[in-house]
């Protein structure tokens, strides 16, 4: 249990501390009305086991930014993307449900049928957070189903749903390859035992039988299980580049051809057991290296981030259309929390556009009729009507995205240490084989072929190939447990070489969703504060919400509420007129100075202007410590689109490390410049506005409030609460890198020993059968142990007893 329970009352549903909106029902505490509602629904359906499987499993209800309007689900276009099968009114649909994190979630979603009888069957696949639901569409529409899931806190993510990672045939065939090689390895080893144990040759037929069986079992290994290595090696050679699979393929081919010739010409028993064992171990390494975080998506395209359909208004009324089909002149309606998908002009309504997604601008901008609204902004407040100016394909965001080289293929391949080693290694082995062949040529030409193949066989860098996936893979899993999810093991290697870290400010070092509200002015009494809170609670404006959140207490009744768009809100609290809003709205004198990125809300109670609230985005609590720890060993830079930086952030950086008024393109060029100066750059950012910079850096890390939020293409996703882990993560990756180097030395020692056997013509199948698995197992054991031990030192922090979900 978390320690905090001693102090704070925690929500029975989601486990968050109960603060402003504490609700008690049924003898249980809830942090908000939303959580209580879910509890009520579950209790009604007899599903309270949900709370016993895991503690506080619930997902807090909040205005989700990714919601697709429910009525859009009635659109054929959207429905077709989701529905897998539909016949006789029975429909099967597959959703991606990012909120799923524990056993209770699985249990509840698999029991949807007890909440609504029309759900016939629901099955969760936890590994990629997919829920497959079969339901009667005559009793429950698709829209109804999505709304039901939304009500219990598991709104499926519908955007980009069709591209979500699905278990493909590829991973299944991988398991088959692994199984076949394990099967062949075990059985051939059994067949080889008589040979190794020195069963005398009294029954030649039996020996020959075993040898042929070995050959037979090795066929699927070489022609099916090992094909990936040949393919990768061939691809490398065609690009005139020797990768680690080249010496491996060479070794496998040498093993196979030598063994076949041995068996066919009755020279010896062959090395089939070593062959199958080698392929098996290598595949285990590949399996360990495979992508771990299937449910996370690291390759977002712009289309994934923007809505796919939007409500269009014409003379017949409103109907949903695809964003791609919009033409200039169309009139569209965008509601609260929705993204404006194309460049448009405001026709009606009061726009408060939150551009944080594109520019990093922290506070919503107010726009009035006739203003141009660029694509990618998010509306906060009431519905607005817009006229489309440009089709989606020409929108500002799309251009920006493309300018930054957003296409994934454009990213240059990063050199891997292992390939550099493999290159020298391959040439070295070929030279040794040639020299050994020449040496035997003069003495005993019968030995030339056996010695050359023996060198190639024993030099097969199995241990070398295994050390990297295991060391980095292990480090990657440890990092994931602490909240940093990396795309693949190569990112760990690149992270080890980083010498410069560039931070984005908004949303990365400062919190995107939290506001710091501070009262500036004379004094404000508790009663006045409650009156302000009561009035602020009646407005949907983000600034009102921030003011409302500042204080707590029971809401006072408010009468005659009137909201003046773009100005403020007024109403009567306890018979006293109260006004909140801009300086001119409340009648304050001259506007006072306020810092950039700060907004102000003036307060008037009765006829007196009390002062103003200053609203800003606070820095994340771990910010100063994190930047300080990284700055002690790296160059650091801060990039921001703002014109000034809060003191809190600026003290963490030297003045010449802060770069202000950076546009997204400038950020990308900045990174580019650092890299041409030979720096190894890591970019830590958040939104779309950093996507280009992340792409140009060696390691692009997206800081995200939750792993389910939409993040741009990146190499890693860092949970915002784990920001303080970044220095540790970097230290761990450097340790893992050193461990790989140590393991390379160990495996080279094995190879040298093996080559000594080989050139002296002593490499019997028995020696190979012992030496090859032994080297692989020791290297893997060493690496796994060393990374684990290494992580103990670097990963211990004061917050380690914090419970980590996922």
């Amino acid at each position: 249990m978390p320690k905090a329970t001693e102090q704070e009352v925690r929500c029975y549903h989601c486990g968050d501390p109960c603060r402003t909106d504490h609700v008690v029902a049924d003898g249980k505490d809830f942090c908000c009305v939303g959580c209580k509602a879910v509890y009520g629904l579950l209790q009604e359906s007899g599903l309270c086991d949900y709370y016993t499987i895991a503690d506080t499993p619930g997902v807090k209800q909040g205005p989700s930014e990714e919601e697709v309007r429910p009525e859009l689900l009635d659109l054929k276009e959207v429905r077709d993307r989701l529905v897998e099968f539909s016949e006789d009114g029975i429909t099967r649909v597959r959703f991606f449900v990012p909120q799923v994190h524990c056993s209770s979630c699985i249990w509840l979603l698999e029991n949807l049928g007890r909440i609504h009888p029309a759900v016939l069957r629901s099955r969760m696949r936890f590994a990629n957070k997919e829920l497959t639901v079969t339901f009667r569409e005559d009793a429950l529409s698709l829209r109804g189903l999505v709304e039901l899931m939304r009500r219990i806190g598991y709104a499926p993510q519908l955007q980009g749903a069709s591209q979500k990672g699905r278990i493909t045939g590829a991973s299944r065939s991988f398991y088959l390859k692994l199984g076949i090689s394990a099967f062949a390895f075990g059985n051939i080893m059994l067949f080889s035992f008589p040979e190794y144990l020195g069963v005398d040759g009294q029954d030649a037929l039996l020996r020959r039988g075993f040898q042929w069986l070995g050959l037979l079992f090795a066929l699927p290994v070489i022609f099916y299980a090992a094909t990936d290595f040949f393919r990768s090696a061939w691809a490398g050679i065609r690009q005139r580049h020797i990768n680690i699979d080249v010496p491996i393929a060479l070794g496998i081919m040498a093993l196979f051809s030598r063994s076949v010739i041995d068996v066919v010409f009755q020279v010896g028993p062959g090395y089939f057991d070593s062959l199958a064992g080698l392929v098996f171990f290598l595949l285990v390494g590949r399996w360990y290296q495979a992508h771990v975080y299937e449910a996370l998506s690291f390759d977002r395209t712009l289309e994934d981030l923007l809505p796919i359909v939007v409500l269009k208004r014409d003379e017949r009324g409103e109907c949903p259309v695809r964003v791609a089909d919009l033409v200039p002149g169309d009139v569209i309606v965008v509601r609260d929390h929705e993204l404006v998908p194309v460049d448009a002009e405001l026709l009606e309504g009061d726009a408060h556009i939150d551009n944080s997604f594109i520019t990093g601008e922290p506070l919503p901008l107010h726009r009035t009729r006739g203003a141009a609204i660029p694509a990618g902004g998010r509306q906060r407040g009431g519905a607005i009507t817009l006229r489309v100016r440009k089709p989606f394909s020409e929108s500002h965001v799309k251009r920006m995205w493309e300018e930054q080289g957003a296409l994934r293929d454009e990213r240059p391949a990063m050199p891997r240490m292992i390939d550099a080693v493999a290159q020298r290694f391959t040439w070295g082995v070929l030279l040794v084989a040639l020299a050994a062949g020449l040496f035997w040529w003069g003495r005993d030409s019968e030995q030339v072929w056996p010695v050359i193949t023996a060198v190639l066989i024993v030099a097969c860098p199995c241990a070398l190939a295994l050390s990297m996936p295991f060391a980095f893979g292990h480090a990657m899993r440890l990092l994931g447990r602490k909240g940093l999810f990396l795309r693949d093991v190569e990112v760990v290697e690149r992270m080890a070489g980083i010498d410069t870290v560039v931070f984005d400010k908004t949303g990365t070092l400062t919190d995107r969703d939290a506001f710091a509200v501070e009262f500036d002015g004379g004094s404000i009494t508790a009663t006045e504060e409650r009156m302000v809170r009561a009035l602020a609670g009646h407005s949907a404006h983000p600034l009102s919400a921030a003011v409302y959140q500042r204080s707590r207490g029971k809401d006072l009744p408010v009468r005659d509420v009137q909201e003046v768009p773009g100005a403020g809100i007024e109403g009567e609290v306890m018979g006293v007129p109260v006004r909140l809003g801009s300086a001119s709205f409340v009648g304050a004198n001259s506007p006072l100075h306020h810092a950039d990125g700060q907004a102000e809300v003036y307060v008037r109670i009765a006829e007196r202007v009390l002062g103003r609230f200053l609203v800003a985005r606070p820095a994340r609590s771990a910010m100063a410590g994190t930047v300080g720890a990284i700055a002690s060993g790296h160059h650091v830079h801060l990039l921001t689109g703002d014109r000034s930086v809060d003191r809190e952030v600026s003290v963490a950086f030297a003045p010449d490390e802060i770069h202000m008024e950076q546009s997204p393109t400038m950020k990308a060029t900045f990174i580019e410049r650092l890299r041409t100066r030979g720096r190894h750059v890591m970019m830590v950012g958040d939104g779309l506005n950093d996507a280009g910079a992340m792409r140009h850096s060696e390691v692009g890390i997206a800081v995200s409030g939750s792993t389910t939020a939409l993040t741009p293409a990146c190499d890693g996703i860092l949970e915002a609460r784990a920001l303080d882990r970044l220095p540790w993560a970097m230290r761990l990756s450097r340790r893992a890198h050193r461990i790989v180097i140590a393991s390379l030395v160990i495996s080279l020692v094995y190879n040298t020993v093996g080559i000594l056997f080989a050139v002296s013509g002593e490499l019997t199948p028995l020696v190979a059968a012992i030496l090859m698995p032994l080297s692989s197992v020791t290297v893997v054991a060493f690496v796994s142990l060393a990374v684990w031990v290494g992580s103990q030192g670097v990963m211990r922090t004061p917050h380690d007893d914090r419970q980590v979900r996922l």
């Binding site: 029991n111 009888p117 069957r121 696949r125």
Partner: protein, 58 residues
């Protein structure tokens, strides 16, 4: 001595049966999710037995 050939054949057949079982397991997705089935068991004791499986055909 010929009995050993019979034994080898028999053991190989047994091994192949297991390989076949493995193939079946992979193809039916047994290795794709190792968490949900474990949780599924927890809910089963409290679940009303009816109307959970596939719908009756109309």
């Amino acid at each position: 001595m010929n009995v050993i050939f019979l034994l080898i054949a028999a053991s190989t057949v047994v091994a192949l049966v297991f390989l076949g079982a493995f193939f079946w397991a992979v193809r039916t997705g047994q290795f794709e999710d190792d968490r949900s089935p474990a949780v599924r068991i927890l809910g089963e004791s409290t679940k009303p037995k009816a109307d959970h499986e596939q719908p009756k055909a109309k």
